[in-house]
Symmetry: C2
Subunit: 419 residues, 2 copies
């Protein structure tokens, strides 16, 4: 993987992703969670319905419960006349049954009395006396009715292992009386900051030093993707210290991110520590992406490890492109989601000509502008070492490997940073 | 707002939203939060940079710090020769200054010594003896250098009130040594379930009763939008009870959602309680949307109130269309976000012909299918009372008011439900 000058040769984005995702990865252990806290968690086992939903024949309309046969042929010109024999109350089993020729008042959601198989909407009836209902429209059997088990059937798999629970999925669990589910624990992601120049934000900073930006950026990105960030602090540029910290992380976390270390020395230490933790160790060292080229991806003791470039913009791009897909996999989340766009997008007109080298994927930070002629994506072209370029940006436009740039006015898809 | 038959007349979706958003709404009180917990919070005050970032002249490359004048005209054929006088260490102020004709080793991120104004990359140099550097390329002043304050300038507004903090924004705060920020409290949203037939999921359910689905669905939707759900339990269909509960909610919460009550009686109670809490009381009663037509929107004591239809699908559609925008406004989040799609979307081919009435916005639940010829959105056409239709669906396709349906194979934009 070295070129003629002895430098590590960069792999393509697709190749790097494939190298990562073909590794066997174990989702974290499972735990039980109450449905009150289940939103956003990933199921580790299929959920089977313990009962029929609904458990009884329910009306979907306000109207009259009837035997559909009694309405056969009914019309405005020739109504059917039924005897009103009672009223169904919400939440109660009706205390009566319908005989042929009889009807009962029923609210939406009410339980049909025995003998009834359909509901006529109020709109299609008249009251033709104290206890006579005039029906102007025929109803078919089961019309305006939900049958027992029509929503969910007992014994049926209603949610599958590997699904991330959405609000409505938790609603369905509640509806079935399932109070707890088995889920994967949220993966813990250790963040190790390196660099002799990096100090904690609460420390006084002297000339030559900078505060730790990347571990805070990474912590938010990890939270956004459903992981639990574990900041391990700042490790000076010292091989043994880094090795010891990463070994410790491999015991506490399901993934390790080594951030920063823009100097050659730190990068070498990072590579060495990742290689040593293997097999397989380093999977790639350098990717054809900008920003983010110096990224190292590896795997050791079943744990994915990344050596991230020090530039804030490179950190964000590498996270979205490589780390998030691996983190989703580690979360136990499955398949279908992989084929959907992971971020909100918006179509926009590109703001100016930007050149790009073919053979490299360019991730251009853009700010959106809402002009009379549409939404424009203005490229922010500052150095990727500037945090401002990320703070000003609303999202990213990707110039694919086989394109040598974008023209002003070209339609592009902006991946929005999420709030 | 009543039609000729005395029924409430439905307003359009745009009109309903306008009626809601033109109401004065007060974001919740503010609080201070540490940057460790700031991700996703909404700033309540502008953030001004307390210092220049970086605080010193920094190299963006591994190479040699030089005085650019000494490299003037240097080329492969006619290199400039400089005397190596030292090495800059990461995180330290160099203990020397450069004289004309001198150079010093500098790592990426290192501080330029006094007398240096540019950095020559290693790639453009040779070592021509123990302390002689051969420079094969001229550098301009400030080349490969970040100047003090070039990223962020002292006194500059770096983040604005009303912004929801993204991972990189928290990174910027850390980089500036800002450890705390003032944010709006997350708005509390009270959920009141109504209906004599509704029981809590942990209760045994008898014929005629159903478990509370909607308040669990709503709790997840509120969390997704940055609010804090406050489930107030299930209130029987009784005007005084509902009135008392809603009054209590108006003291504890910034928004009240009254869910369910599919029967006419409950709907009437809900409308009455909302009207009584005003002025202005009820803003609209009924919207031209399916599912979700019976929605009531109102405002009282400065608090938005919604009376939601009982069908689970209607709850989700009403939340995404009306409640989320109001909740974002209540969160103190500002402007720009309003113009961006609030959800992930994916383009797909519509799976079958579906008719829709003009004058009504249809929100069709769809499941995505990944076929050889592209992504297809298969409409799920079950009754909106079935929770299954939401659990099976991956998202929603909107048929706008002025369209009378969608054809099979038509390209549509699917708003994805988020996990």
């Amino acid at each position: 993987m070295k070129d003629l000058l002895g430098r590590e040769e960069a792999v393509t984005v697709d190749k790097a992703l494939a190298l990562l995702l073909e590794q066997p990865m174990h989702p974290p252990p499972t735990e039980c969670t109450g449905i009150d806290n289940a939103y956003g968690r990933v199921l580790s086992a299929d959920v089977v319905s313990p009962e029929d939903l609904p458990g009884f024949k329910r009306s979907t309309m306000d109207g009259y419960a009837v035997n559909s046969k009694d309405t056969f042929g009914a019309s405005d010109g020739m109504p059917a006349y039924l005897t009103l024999v009672g009223e169904v109350h919400m939440g109660e089993t009706p205390g009566f049954a319908l005989q042929r020729g009889e009807a009962a008042v029923i609210p939406t959601g009410g339980m049909l009395p025995e003998g009834a198989d359909a509901v006529v909407m109020y709109e299609h009836t008249n009251t033709a006396g104290a206890d006579i209902v005039e029906v102007m429209k025929a109803v078919a059997p089961n019309e305006n009715v939900i049958l027992p088990g029509e929503d969910i059937r007992k014994g049926e798999v209603i949610l599958r292992a590997g699904q991330r629970l959405r609000p409505q999925d938790v609603g369905a669990l509640a509806g079935l009386g399932i109070l707890e589910v088995e889920v994967f624990r949220r993966p813990v992601v250790a963040i190790v900051s390196t660099g002799d120049e990096v100090v904690r934000p609460e420390q006084p900073v002297s000339a030559g030093q900078v505060r730790d930006i990347n571990s805070y950026n990474l912590a938010g990105l990890i939270l956004r993707s459903g992981g639990i960030p574990l900041r391990k602090g700042i490790i000076p540029d010292h091989l043994d210290r880094l090795r010891a910290t990463v070994s410790e992380c491999a015991k506490e976390a399901q993934m390790v991110l080594i951030s920063g270390g823009s100097s050659v020395g730190t990068r070498d230490y990072t590579a060495r520590v990742i290689e040593e933790l293997g097999p397989p160790g380093i999977l790639f060292h350098g990717v054809s992406i900008r920003p983010g080229k110096p990224l190292i991806g590896g795997m050791g003791k079943g744990i994915p490890l990344f050596g991230l470039p020090g530039h804030p913009a490179a950190v964000s791009v590498c996270f979205d492109t490589f780390i998030e897909p691996v983190l989703k996999r580690l979360s136990g989340e499955q398949a279908a989601g992989d084929r959907l766009p992971p971020h909100r997008t918006v179509r926009a007109l590109f703001g100016r000509n930007v050149a790009s080298s073919t053979g490299r994927e360019d991730h251009v930070r853009v700010a959106l502008e809402f002009r009379d002629d549409g939404v424009w994506a203005r490229p922010i072209l500052g150095k990727s070492g500037l945090i401002r370029t990320l703070v000003e940006a609303d999202g990213i436009v990707v110039i694919p490997m086989n394109k040598n740039g974008l023209y002003e006015g070209e339609t592009v898809e902006v991946m929005l940073f999420s709030g």
